[in-house]
């Protein structure tokens, strides 16, 4: 407060009061705001509009969802108001999002992650929608869409397998054979290293540490089988179990053949090195295809199922996460939202979506696969032939446990893969905090 300002202010007293009065109003409004929103809802619901919260922030899925919502609007006369949020942010804020005023329909993942919110009553059951769309889905998919109480909470859109991807032309040039057994796989990585390649493309730097879980899941599935893997994921078995240690022992054989500097690289950069033939193979999902810009290269990409480690478990388990939609707990336009979900579950919708984003597979049995490229066809066969389908570690388990305990532990171990039992002990000591049952 300077001296100059004091007198004029005193002279224009009412002016100051008006200003402060205005501030007072603002302050009161700020104080009242949280109270108001807390008991809000109801008002403003428009029967002609359905709101849709999408995590498809990247260009390709965004375009694909736009074509789907556009078609629904034409079909039903309802307007879909899409609210797109970046993928990682969407996941991170999902709990508070669902407790606030979420959109009527929102994108989410099948399995444990969906069941968690169903159990917490943050979403609505969809049995009446499934009465209409149910005939088009396989039993495995139905299983993935149900909560622990047996009710449906989820409408699936697509899934995509994880496998070991490579470039056909590179394998041909160098005379590499597709490995079926673990020993052949390790021998191949050794040979690639000798040939001056990075055998396994890898980038788990920054926010991409999740990408190592694909390899972990597969090594565990192949070493110990599906049932043990699921028990481990759901916190029912100790992480210091010697079977888990066996998994890390196998993984350690592979670790020296990971691309150098993986801890500082994004998965996209790693995928690029595979496309550039600097890396020989990549353990990754079909979404690798989103990284391809040259269609000629797309035709040159192929994959093989993760090699067999223990003959007792073979190559039967396939990791294929399923994405889809859920209904929020108090949708503003329930009738419209259910109509939208019914539309989303339809075969035609899946065709529309996959037409724009060819790096996923439709899960609706009636959806035409005529437009599939070779990679999609092979992926569909792989999933169809699977004995068991796992999701992805953070979808089969408590995502908090995976992201704050398992991932930091495993990434740290992978950079210096020596003390496996020490890493497992650290993980095990946290398990009870997440799984109380």
């Amino acid at each position: 407060m300077t001296q100059q300002s004091r007198n004029p202010l005193a002279a224009r007293d009412p002016g100051r009061r008006r200003v402060v009065g205005g501030l007072f109003g603002l302050g009161a409004a700020a104080l009242a705001a949280p109270v108001l929103t807390a008991c809000g809802g109801g008002a403003g619901a428009d029967p002609k509009t359905v709101t849709f919260g999408s995590n498809g922030g990247d260009a390709t899925p965004k375009k694909a969802y736009a074509s789907v919502t556009g078609a629904f609007a034409k079909d039903s006369g309802l307007t879909v108001k899409t609210n797109t949020v970046d993928h990682d942010t969407f996941q991170k804020s999902i709990t508070s999002y669902l407790q606030g005023t979420p959109d009527d329909v929102f994108t989410w993942f099948a399995g444990y992650r969906m069941q968690y919110f169903a159990k917490k009553k943050l979403c609505s059951p969809l049995d009446d929608v499934w009465d209409k769309i149910g005939v088009d889905f396989s039993d495995a998919t139905k299983q993935l869409s149900r909560g622990e109480d047996g009710k449906y909470y989820f409408v699936p859109l697509y899934n995509y397998p994880w496998a070991v991807f490579y470039r056909k032309s590179l394998f041909k040039e160098r005379g590499y054979q597709v490995p079926q057994k673990w020993s052949e796989f390790i021998a191949l990585t050794k040979r690639m290293k000798k040939d001056g390649l990075s055998p396994i493309a890898s980038g788990y730097g920054g926010g991409d540490s999740w990408s190592i879980l694909g390899a972990f899941d597969y090594v565990n599935l192949r070493t110990n089988g599906y049932d043990f893997h699921m028990s481990l994921m759901r916190g029912k078995v100790s992480w210091t179990d010697k079977r888990a240690l066996a998994t890390l022992d196998h993984w350690r054989e592979l670790a020296p053949y990971y691309q150098q500097g993986a801890a500082g690289r994004s998965w996209q950069d790693a995928a690029q090195s595979l496309l550039d033939k600097k890396s020989g193979m990549a353990v990754i999902g079909l979404f690798l295809g989103q990284q391809i810009t040259d269609e000629k290269i797309r035709a040159d990409i192929d994959f093989f199922p993760f090699p067999e480690i223990d003959a007792a478990h073979g190559q039967g388990a396939v990791e294929a996460p399923t994405d889809g939609f859920m209904l929020s707990r108090r949708p503003k336009n329930e009738a419209g939202a259910k109509k939208f979900l019914e539309f989303l579950g339809g075969a035609h919708t899946e065709e529309l979506y996959m037409g724009v984003d060819p790096s996923n597979l439709a899960v609706n049995d009636k959806a035409s696969t005529g437009s599939y490229n070779a990679l999609q066809k092979k992926s569909a066969d792989l999933i169809a032939s699977a004995k068991q389908i796992s999701q992805f570690a953070d979808r089969d388990s408590d995502p908090g446990f995976i992201s704050t305990v398992v991932l930091p532990g495993l990434t740290e171990w992978l950079s210096h893969p020596d003390d496996g039992s020490g890493t497992l002990k650290k993980i095990e000591s946290q398990r009870s905090r997440f799984f109380t049952a």
Binding site: M1, R17, V20, L23, F24, G27, A28, A30, L31, D88, Q91, K92, S93, I94, T95, S96, Q99, R113, Y116, K120, L122, G205, G206, G207, D208, S209, Q260, G261, A262, A263, G264, R265, D269, S273, D398, P399, G400, F401, S403, T404, L407, P408, G409, T411, E412, S415, K426, S429, Q430, R433, F434
Partner: protein, 312 residues
Amino acid sequence: MSSAPTTPPAPRRARPRRLGTGDRIFLTVIIGIPLAALLFFVWLPALASLGLSFTTWDGIDLADIHWIGLDNYKEIFTNYPPFWPAVRHNVIWLLFTALLPTPFGIFLAYQLDRKIRFTRIYQTAIFLPMVLSLAVVGFIWEIIYNPDTGLLNGLLGAAGSSHHIDWLGNPDLNLWAVLVASSWRHTGYIMILYLAGLKGFDPALKEAAALDGANGRQTFLRVVFPALKPVNVIILVITVMESLRSFDVVYVLGGGVGSKPGMELLSLLITDNIIGESSHIGYGSALAVVLLVVSLAAIGTFLVQNFRKEDQ
């Protein structure tokens, strides 16, 4: 904390003897509202965190809050692998910032305050990072540190090759890489603060020192530095606070996923546990209370000591 300054000016302005009823109501309102806001937005959450730190809660249903006493703290101190690394990193962060970028900022300010040529250009250049949010600073350094295409590895001629330096991926290196990025911004901040102090410095003191035959170093250490005590206090408090609350640069450079090996910080552990799909509000709150206690202890000790000296 930031809303605190809104309250004091009002009472100072008041002249009690001349106040009528209207004025009194008016004053009550203009003091009452910010006070209520302060209590509601600052103290209530702080106390709620303290309370929640003795419970387990998933943040969804109020009925699910269970009292578990000191269990969270016991877990954190004895059985939470990233906790002690985080404490260590916070201390490293504090020492590093206090010993390198802060004195460097002061040094730059002192040099730029002498009427050297192009001083304005230098000032702008050094202050420029401060204009950016720390998150943006993170994005910039992410590009610099990239192992395949980054500027640093490019300069070293190692980009994309097998012997590149993995600045952000190597757990022994990434904390230091992040510290450099944060110092890049902190230096400008300190410089501008100190420069402001120097502008208000009485040049007569310097002249007197020169007449007494003091050289540049002596003038600074014996005359300028002690005379600028208020600014020094502010700078120290800022340095301590910035170090303890450091979060954004690490969060961005770590890829926006919370704590990573080598880069654990208390602030990151808190968000790890509170934000996300399955939140552990109680556990996270206990960590937040630990950070609060550490911050209060650091700032409190410093302020008490300073004011005590002032009183004497």
